[in-house]
């Protein structure tokens, strides 16, 4: 036994050394080659925004699958770690903290304006990641105040800008009404939108605000009829109360054209407006799932992966994941570490970038937004939103 002891010690020591080498030596080498880049997400899979959150979740997953199947970013896969938030800011913050305590997160998807504003100082303090999300709030489009955030499309004021430019071109001097919900989301573009309308020599004849969750809008329609606008822009809603608004307005013989902004623009949502959908217009930064005009290889890929119609939420998640990972790719290509400021610099280096045709034109991101969009109009025969203008770049 005594003669055997040293041998056993040696064996144990040797095994430990080998294990250590594997853990620290080989493990380290493989980490450099293939350690995943983490994209975290506070995703609203339940609650009032779930209709979009479920699509966003699928869009992010699909883009990352395409990316990872193609070898990831410089050989590193991108790992998606998401938590449901029910579209509540406290739950979003809890999800953020949980994911960050378990993973080294470089890219993040946030679900609301409230969360984006709440978490901003923490993002700056950490300095380890960039964030985009479901919010197109005008306030977030300020690289000084929100240096590590961006949005994968125009902000709400820019959306109004695209709509108003279209109106000014179609009918100079037109009478315009804004109908919006009494929420942060609804109020966002109203003041700046009104100023822009004045610049474009359009008359804002009525601004109607509806309390959140209101069902019956008869009173508001009466006000709208008295204002008699040529164009009515809805903002801060998804579906209700837009269909009832349009139905009642048409019953009263109003001839206004009705328009919406991005989160109202999903094709299946507009279809659900029934008869009210005919002629409904709005601004979209991306091509629709079914668009066949122009070259869009990435849309072809999506259609291969998912033969059924995918929502605008899906496209938003998909494009956001694409831009987040493009920022990571550019940062690594430049030989820099994946820190927040480096990632944002990588993102801002995006110039005339082809998103595989998801945006209709090559895009640049000099600041925090991508101010590009096109007007689509609902065609009841085709049951589809169809292009009504060229791509408008602000």
């Amino acid at each position: 036994m005594t003669a055997f002891e040293p041998n056993r010690r040696r064996i144990i020591a040797g095994t430990a050394a080998a294990a250590g080498a594997m853990a620290f030596g080989f493990g380290r080498a493989s980490a450099q080659a293939g350690a995943p880049i983490v994209l975290g997400g506070s995703i609203p899979l339940t609650g009032v925004f779930a209709f979009a959150g479920i699509g966003i979740h699928a869009g992010i997953q699909d883009y990352l699958k395409i990316l990872n199947d193609g070898g990831g970013i410089k050989g590193r896969p991108v790992k998606y770690v998401a938590e449901d938030t029910a579209y509540k800011v406290d739950a979003s913050v809890a999800a953020f903290n949980k994911i960050n305590s378990q993973e080294k997160v470089s890219l993040y998807y946030g679900d609301s304006t409230g969360f984006a504003k709440t978490i901003n100082s923490e993002l700056d303090r950490r300095g380890t990641m960039i964030m985009a999300g479901a919010s197109f709030a005008t306030e977030l489009n300020d690289p000084k105040k929100y240096p590590l955030q961006f949005m994968a499309g125009p902000d709400y004021t820019e959306m109004f800008g695209i709509l108003l430019r279209y109106i000014a071109k179609e009918k100079p001097g037109a009478r315009v009404a804004f109908v919006y919900s009494d929420t942060e989301f609804g109020r966002d573009p109203i003041v700046l939108g009104e100023a822009l309308a004045k610049e474009l020599k359009l008359a804002v004849v009525e601004k109607i605000v509806t309390p959140p969750g209101s069902v019956d809008v008869s009173t508001e329609v009466l006000k709208l009829r008295r204002a008699n606008p040529d164009f009515t822009i809805f903002h801060g809603y998804v579906l209700a109360p837009i269909p009832e608004f349009i139905t009642q307005a048409k019953q009263m013989g109003m001839r206004s054209a009705f328009m919406g902004t991005f989160w109202t623009m999903d094709n299946s949502t507009v279809q659900r407006m029934g008869d009210a959908a005919e002629g409904f217009m709005g601004v979209m930064p991306y091509r629709y799932y079914y668009d066949r005009d122009g070259s869009a290889p990435m849309l072809d890929r999506i259609r291969q992966m998912r033969p059924d119609y995918q929502s605008t939420g899906y496209l938003q998640g998909f494009v956001t994941a694409m831009l987040l990972t493009e920022a990571a790719k550019r940062t690594l290509d430049a030989g820099k570490d994946l820190t927040g400021p480096n990632l944002k610099a990588g993102l801002n280096s995006i110039k005339d970038f082809d998103t595989g045709g998801l945006f209709g034109v090559p895009i640049s991101i000099p600041g925090n937004s991508v101010p590009v969009g096109r007007i689509y109009r609902f065609d009841a025969k085709a049951k589809q939103m169809q292009p009504a203008s060229d791509w408008i770049k602000l």
């Binding site: 009032v48 779930a50 209709f51 479920i54 309390p211 069902v215 019956d216 269909p243 009832e244 029934g274």
Partner: protein, 292 residues
């Protein structure tokens, strides 16, 4: 300000107030009989909307059959909830029962989302689309239909409590449970009937609300806004729900038209505060109501 506009605004207000009143009745029925504030009324209302969608669009039944079945579904749910969740809670503190109804609401939202998804949906069009004109004043046809339906249902309930034996039994139970027992009234059965009637009413209101504003798993918040109506009217008074509903509908419409939509809730809740200071038991409520 022209008189026609004022008339139209008031008509619109009374129309939407009728929907508040109808949903308010569902709160009142349960509170009156069992002293439970059922916070799941909004979600049962939502379920009514989805049940209608399932019967009308899913099974392709005619609208009237789908409406009846949606109301029956609401009633069945009421019976099930009362027997399985509420009756075992008899004798527990009101707060415990109150919490059970909150939990029930969350479960219903989850079930609907599992079954129909989270997207907002529209009900098949089944109401007349011809505008209604009272004199020269326009009234949206759906709002007019909602008003008539609510008026008929509330009148039926008022008659039921005044003239039918079961209505009198419910009133007796509400007045004094012990005394009601002693004169041979089957109190648990009264509880059950109250839940069935209330949930059936809420489901019917859900079809009307859904026909106007569309349905989504989160439409239950409408029920919560109706809580204000019944507090103003008096938690245990059907006439109170009617008056409270019409009053709030009218006040909201006038505030929305002349002050702006952002003032609707401010005016409503100011009214609630003032009223609670003067009559803490509501306009028509019984004096000794226990408040939460």
């Amino acid at each position: 300000m022209d008189a026609l506009f004022l008339a139209e605004v008031m008509l619109a207000g009374i129309g939407s107030g009728a929907l508040y009143a109808l949903t308010g009745v569902a709160f009142v029925l349960i509170y009156k009989a069992t002293r439970v504030v059922n916070l799941a009324i909004g979600e049962i209302l939502m379920l009514g909307g989805y049940a209608f969608l399932g019967f009308a669009a899913g099974l392709g039944l005619p609208a009237i059959a789908a409406l009846v079945l949606a109301v029956v579904t609401g009633g069945l749910l009421g019976w099930l909830v009362e027997r399985s969740l509420i009756r075992p809670m008899l004798g527990e503190s009101p707060i415990s029962v109150f919490m059970v109804t909150i939990g029930l609401g969350s479960i219903l939202v989850g079930l609907v989302q599992l079954g129909w998804g989270a997207d907002p949906l529209r009900l098949p069009e089944f109401m007349p689309a011809t505008p209604v004109f009272i004199g020269d004043a326009y009234l949206a046809p759906k709002v007019a239909v909602g008003f008539v339906a609510a008026a008929v249902v509330i009148a039926a309930f008022l008659a039921l409590f005044r003239f039918s034996r079961s209505g009198v039994a419910l009133k007796a139970t509400a007045g004094d449970q012990g005394a009601a027992y002693s004169v041979g009234i089957d109190v648990p059965r009264v509880f059950s009937a109250a839940w069935i009637l209330a949930c059936a009413t809420a489901a019917g209101a859900g079809v009307l609300v859904g026909a106007i504003g569309g349905i989504s798993p989160t439409m239950g918040v409408f029920g919560l806004s109706v809580l204000v109506v019944v507090i103003i009217g008096g938690l245990d008074s059907i006439a109170g729900a009617l008056v409270g509903g019409l009053l709030i509908g009218l006040v909201e419409a006038l505030a929305g038209a002349f002050l702006g939509g952002e003032y609707k809730l401010v005016v409503t809740f100011t009214l609630l505060l003032l009223l609670l200071m003067v009559r803490p038991y509501g306009l028509f409520g019984t004096h000794e109501i226990e408040r939460l």
